[in-house]
């Protein structure tokens, strides 16, 4: 049976892994390769690396660490950060990444999704969406350049319409970052994720809000997502991946057990 994926997310800045709260106040949590090895040995199903300053600084991420990850890590990994063209994506994939994820560059130029799909195939094109719940208008809105609080801004898209659009353009997977929940560990935004799940035919990955092992069970049961991404609970040793996998299994969620 296909396992639900547990995906630690590593935000990279200046060659280190960092973590903020609600996309702000980033602190260093460790070395890229050390953390990647730690998580893959603990049973992570996949890793995601976001070089958070790349898009803000209008440059491609540094591919030298991508190759180091590919040499040492034996699980799939996805890389994001300032990928704006087929040529950029080719560099990242040649360095050994299995998938590339685009976010702000796709908002700036949506055709990029189709170009990447046509060149590399659907399976390696992931679109990350930063979605913010605006209580005043009761709407989910797409944000961009969230790697830097000073550059972050609202886009013209509502989340639902952007999800449909990126699928039409050829996205092979969608990571939905629920910004209101990010780093606060109060649980995934199952209301929003369920709404998006209903209109999403490609694998959907939940991001933002994981605090307890039960939050993972809830997101898989209530939102029917394919994977759950989390950062701080793993970086701060709040949740051990091995124990989480066992907990999921005990609660009837299909998970890959390694030991």
């Amino acid at each position: 049976m296909l396992s639900k994926r547990i995906i630690p997310c590593l935000d990279v800045k200046n060659g280190q892994v960092v973590k903020g709260v609600k996309f702000k106040g980033h602190e260093v949590v460790g070395d890229i390769l050390e953390l990647a090895e730690l998580y893959s040995k603990a049973g992570a199903d996949e890793l995601v690396f976001y070089e958070i300053s790349a898009s803000v600084e209008k440059r491609l991420l540094d591919v030298t660490w991508v190759e180091q990850i590919a040499r040492h890590i034996d699980i799939p990994f996805c890389v994001a950060g300032g990928i704006k063209s087929v040529a950029d994506a080719a560099k990242v994939l040649e360095s050994g990444a299995d998938k590339i994820s685009i976010n702000s560059p796709a908002i700036h130029r949506p055709e990029l999704i189709k170009e990447l799909h046509d060149e590399f195939g659907k399976q390696c094109v992931v679109v990350g969406i930063d979605s913010f719940y605006d209580a005043e208008t009761d709407q989910y809105l797409v944000y961009q350049l969230t790697g830097d609080p000073n550059a972050s801004s609202r886009t013209r898209y509502k989340t639902q319409e952007w999800v449909k659009r990126v699928q039409d353009l050829g996205a092979g997977e969608i990571v939905l970052n629920c910004m209101n929940q990010d780093g606060v560990r109060k649980g995934y935004d199952n209301k929003q994720l369920s709404e998006i799940r209903a209109i999403c035919d490609v694998p959907l990955i939940a991001s933002g809000g994981a605090g307890t092992m039960q939050d993972f069970v809830d997101v898989f049961e209530q939102s029917q997502v394919d994977g759950a991404l989390a950062a701080s609970v793993f970086h701060k040793n709040v949740i051990d991946i091995n124990e989480l996998k066992q907990y999921l299994t005990n609660n009837g969620v299909a998970a890959r057990l390694c030991n």
Binding site: L2, D74, I75, L93, G96, D98, G172, P203, D226
Partner: protein, 196 residues
């Protein structure tokens, strides 16, 4: 000495790094004349079958692969290219392993089949030694070879399909052993120890 066949289609670094981690230090070859001097070979593959197949034929690989009598294993699209034919682009393949490749019928499930899934061991073989049906490996594919007499291990996603196939010295793995953690390393080690 192990060769990785580089047809220019696939990103071969992941496969190379996986064998490096096992201490096998593979050599990447680009010309069919080089193949015969190696003890075993890997045919990787990612992308569209018709494009990859055309490159193999244009570069003269059919004869070299036909004449090769030592272990040769295709990975993912590389496995599909070793079969009779594929409906992806409707092309004839290398015809080393009986059976056709067709689009995976996933029903209401999301496509492609992406993620960790179980291997169903169908018959004992050196390639599946030490592997049980509890073990999971990493799949990413939309097309698959149906289960037949040459299936060593099956997979299940909407329908049953061949996860590992073998005929004579030719074998194939539909998933990515190079990305399948300890289980994948075990399978690649089995390939390195396989004698035909």
């Amino acid at each position: 000495m192990i060769a990785i066949i580089n047809t220019g289609c696939a990103n071969i670094n992941s496969v190379r790094f996986a064998f490096d981690r096992l201490g096998a230090n593979p050599e990447i070859i680009t010309a069919p004349e080089q193949l015969a001097q190696f003890d075993r070979a890997i045919l990787p593959g990612v992308g569209h079958a018709s494009v990859a197949m055309k490159r193999l034929l244009d570069n003269g690989w059919q004869q070299a692969i036909d004449e090769y009598q030592k272990p040769l294993m295709g990975i993912c699209l590389g496995m599909q290219l070793l079969c009779e034919k594929t409906s992806e682009g409707d092309v004839d393949c290398l015809n080393k392993i009986p059976g056709a490749v067709t689009q995976l019928e996933v029903g209401k499930l999301t496509a492609p089949h992406m993620g960790w899934n179980n291997l169903g061991i169908e018959k004992p073989h050196a390639l599946t030694q030490g592997i049980t049906s509890q073990d999971q490996v990493y799949f990413v594919h939309s097309f698959a070879h149906s289960v037949n007499d040459y299936t060593l291990a099956s997979g299940e996603y909407g329908q049953a399909f061949s996860a590992i196939v073998c005929k004579d010295n030719y074998a194939g793995m539909q998933f990515h052993p190079e990305k399948s953690a300890q289980v994948g390393a075990k399978l690649l080690t089995n390939f390195l120890n396989w004698n035909v």
